[in-house]
Amino acid sequence: MKQTKSTEMLVGMFIAAGLAALFVLAMKVSNLSTLSTGESYQLIARFENIGGLKVRSPVTVGGVLVGRVSAIDYDNERFQAVVTLDIEEKYNRFPEDTSASIFTSGLLGEQYVGLEPGGLEEVLTDGSQIELTQSAIIIEKLVSKFLFDRAAEGGTE
């Protein structure tokens, strides 16, 4: 079979196009570009209720992504959810009285952990625990509380 240069050229271009497409899928479409590749350290936060928080949910400070939830566990002794946060090493200066809350992005969006730095001198290190936490807001609870309050108001009038 005769092998012309143009055949080889075309096949080479085809393979290059295929590999480039795979590269685009990996880099531009998937989460590879947002995965933190650098070093990270762990913080632990305990919540009464984590709502719809998932492993790999974002952790933000002032809206900036600083890490992700790496594990969710349940403490059988204290009846609390234990959430391990993977924070990028370059954000290692959170004061000890930093608080963690679970928020929802948008009305029906996914849930994330929001950190709010406090004012103490000492900083949180690898493995330390965030003491001030606020649980996820469960819409059903809010609605039923609102309804009960209304009913109670109506009763006293």
Partner: protein, 259 residues
Amino acid sequence: MLEWIRELGRGGFRYFEKLGRSTLFLIKTLAGIPAVLARPGLLVAQLLSVGVLSLLIITVSGLFVGMVLALQGYNTLVDFGAEESLGVVVSLSIVRELGPVVTALLFAGRAGSALTAEIGLMKATEQLSGMEMMAVDPIHRVIAPRFLAGFLSMPLLAAVFSAVGIYGGFFVGVGLLGVDDGAYWSQMQAKVDLYDDVLNGVIKSVVFGFVATWIAVFEGYDTVPTSEGVSRATTRTVVHSALAVLGLDFVLTALMFGE
């Protein structure tokens, strides 16, 4: 009645005979692959006809599938005020399902049928027996390069389809319908996982490429050496490949994404 049951039994025998023949054929073909690697020229020529020449239809289909997905998805999402998620909808449907499946169907129609017709005609015109007379194994010389070319081309074609489709969705969504540029990509990157979504899509396309090419070369090699036989074999290639791809897609999806 008895005749009918006997006919059923004969059909069953024929079916298993064919299954056995195709498996033996596959083993022989796989054994012939080292011989192909020793002569890459044969492979390059087949990559040209199977892969490069399929590129046009794959690219155009990918572009239009992406554009249609964006249009349709937008209409639904805008009711919920969630048109920013358009990128997620388009990319997940393409990367997980439409990319591998539509590419495999087009591949069976464009390249598979051509492979069957070519090999079938070689058999009908006794070129394959001619090769055997000259002590050239037609499996090494004709079948294995075509099989390998199809197997290698399919994942690349599917990747091109997916990438082009996502850009097609981008053009319609961002350019035409006014979805935010940044939201299109960032929501996509937040929701599409490299391993769970992209890699599983690639695995699907590898499996489909293997099956579709296997069916194509086997039907060609196994054809009844008449013009009618070749025409039937070509039809069977397209029908069987499409059915195999769709059936396997369900199984693979259940394995990969079913909890």
